[in-house]
């Protein structure tokens, strides 16, 4: 549902049906809504059989990269005698993204069940759920649900009487966007600075505590229980445009729409319908100017690209951007694109872990040049300088935070160049005071 709004007829509420329903938070409430049937079923399956169902569903990672989930699980070694770990990524810090928060606080047992099934599939006994430190309320609710699940015996040393051990441990973050990057997250759990690690080795070989590890996003894991109950083919059938994009996707929409919130669509719904029907379009008298569809790290789209776009991995890629995390930022004609791109660059500069020179220097320098332009002190050559900096920040660092800073700058200059030039020529009054 378009939480906090009622379910729209064009939504497919699979994960979001009970958002806003306080009774669904408790163990009893969740069981009354069909909870833990999937885990019971999965406990009777082999790990390979669980992986096969998820492969057949076409489920892809909802954390940003869209990697096929079943395939990722199949990379975990078999019979290696080592402890395996599952990490659940509940760091959700990408600007515009606030969907995992609703799962944590409204349907925590859906996530616990998803974690338990995934742990069985990858032969792990322990799942660490890494929740960003700022999510105080979601964390409290989720921890209470974990305690209830232990007390009910659905997880613990003898999960549902199966003789199998399933532990779920909540690990609270302490402020750092970069900890959403998978290996930085592992370092944060290990009690280290949240610096991303150089890959390879990949987590399936050497991850958390040096052991084979799988990491999945909250929404990815919450989608697993319905797939187990209703089958891979059923989930794969939920697709309106590309057969490579299956199931439902939570899209958190914010910015200048009349009804911002977390909507659940079948993959492939036209983006125009999402923004104008489900979210109610722009405020009266306003027109659409730009959309950043997948969290702040993806290219900015124009209204023409939005009008032609199917909301799924392939559809958004065809329009030159990415589905990413599904955090959609909508901007109307009141938006100063240069100022907002500066804000985003400042975000990445603030969040850089500073290990790589190109990222540390590049994000800071990009921000300073954009600020200079906004003060009316820019030069035309600054635009080329920004683009050459962006080039030096793309594909040259340990993780893609650096690339993420370059992306809105490059697409912003390509699509809204006139706004940059207006500040530089003085046609537009400075938006920032001189220093």
């Amino acid at each position: 549902m378009g939480y906090p709004h009622p379910i729209h007829p064009k939504e497919t509420p699979l994960l979001s049906e009970y958002f806003g329903d306080v009774a669904a938070r408790s163990y009893d409430g969740w069981v009354a809504r069909g909870g833990y049937v999937a885990l019971k079923q999965a406990l009777a399956m082999t790990p390979e059989a669980i992986v096969d169902v998820v492969k057949a569903s076409g489920l892809r990672g909802r954390g940003g990269a869209g990697f096929p989930t079943g395939l990722k699980w199949s990379f975990m070694p078999k019979d290696d005698g080592k402890p395996h770990y599952l990490c659940c990524n509940a760091d959700e810090s990408e600007p515009g993204t606030f969907k995992d928060r609703e799962i944590l606080r409204w349907t925590p047992h859906a996530l616990i069940e998803g974690c338990a099934i995934a742990a069985l599939a990858i032969r792990a006994e322990t799942t660490y759920v890494f929740i960003r430190g700022e999510y105080t309320e979601p964390c409290t609710i989720f921890e209470a649900a974990v305690r209830e699940a232990y007390a009910a015996g659905v997880i613990g040393e003898n999960a549902m009487g199966s003789g199998k051990r399933i532990d779920v441990v909540v690990h609270r973050g302490a402020g750092a966007y970069i900890c959403g990057e998978e290996t930085a997250l592992m370092n944060a759990i290990e009690g280290k600075r949240g610096n991303p690690r150089i890959k390879p080795p990949f987590p399936a070989v050497s991850g958390l505590f040096g052991q084979p590890t799988t990491i999945n996003n909250v929404e990815t894991l919450a989608a697993v229980p319905p797939i187990i109950v209703k089958g891979g083919a059923w989930y794969a059938g939920l697709s309106l445009s590309s057969p490579k994009s299956t199931g439902t996707k939570l899209i958190s929409v914010c910015g200048h729409v009349q009804r911002p919130g977390t909507y659940e669509i079948t993959m492939g719904l036209p983006m125009q319908e999402l923004i104008f029907d489900l979210c109610g379009g722009m405020r009266p008298g306003r027109t659409l100017k730009a959309v950043i569809p997948g969290g702040s790290s993806v290219p900015i789209m124009t209204p023409e690209e939005v009008a032609a776009c199917a909301t799924d991995y392939e559809g958004i890629a065809a329009q030159g951007s990415l589905l990413g995390s599904g955090g959609m930022i909508v901007m109307d004609d009141t938006t100063d694109m240069v100022y907002q791109i500066m804000r985003l660059a400042r975000f990445y500069a603030h969040e850089s872990c500073a290990q790589c020179t190109n990222c540390r220097e590049g994000t800071a320098w990009t921000t300073r040049i954009l600020e200079r332009i906004l003060r009316g002190q820019g030069k035309m050559a600054d635009l080329d300088l920004l683009l050459s900096l962006a080039d030096n920040m793309t594909g040259k660092t340990i993780c893609v935070l650096s690339d993420s800073c370059a992306t809105p700058v490059v697409s912003g200059i390509a699509k809204f160049r006139g706004e940059f030039e207006a500040y530089i020529t003085g046609a537009r009054a400075p938006a920032m005071a001189e220093v």
Partner: protein, 166 residues
């Protein structure tokens, strides 16, 4: 409040707190994994992570104080200086910015008497900072006051909100 107290340091990891952390330790294969939880325990108890607290954590986990300091300073939510009785974090990242977050920050500064971002009000009651995306962008402007996550704060609602934090 001053950074240097004349009173001797009272350890945090005693009694129940120690027991709780030791129990949590059984869920991890290394002792070092308790570092973030241990720092949270310190901050909950004392309001900030002092140099003496860093030494206590280091001894508890058998790592060096320099190592602990390196971790503390990496994570923005740990305070390495004392802060006001009520710590206010206002999101001003792009999605909130385009919907009016800057006005909310100004209202907080004005009504708390804090002279600047990051500075504590003269009565010691408040510290206000801007933070990056709080992950609740549909509820502009989201604000964290201590551990209370408050949605949809407007400049107009700030005075009544502050009254709840004496």
């Amino acid at each position: 409040m001053s950074t240097h107290s004349t009173e001797p340091y009272r350890p945090v990891f005693t009694g129940e707190t120690r027991d709780r952390l030791e129990a949590l330790g059984t869920k991890y294969p290394t002792r070092q994994a308790l570092l973030l939880p241990a720092l949270w325990a310190i901050q909950e108890e004392r309001g900030w992570v002092s140099p003496e607290a860093i030494t206590e954590v280091a001894e508890f986990l058998q790592v060096t104080p320099a190592y602990v300091r390196g971790v503390v300073t990496f994570y923005t939510m740990y305070h390495t200086h004392p802060v006001g009785r009520h710590f206010i974090q206002v999101c001003t990242t792009s999605p909130c910015n385009i919907c009016g977050a800057e006005g909310v920050v100004e209202a907080f500064l004005e009504h708390t008497g804090c002279l600047d971002l990051g500075a504590t009000s003269p009565d010691g009651r408040f510290t206000v900072i801007e933070v990056e995306c709080l992950g609740a962008c549909a509820f502009v402007t989201p604000v964290l006051i201590n551990d209370d996550f408050i949605e949809s704060v407007t400049a107009e609602s700030v005075p009544a909100l502050l009254a709840r934090y004496p």
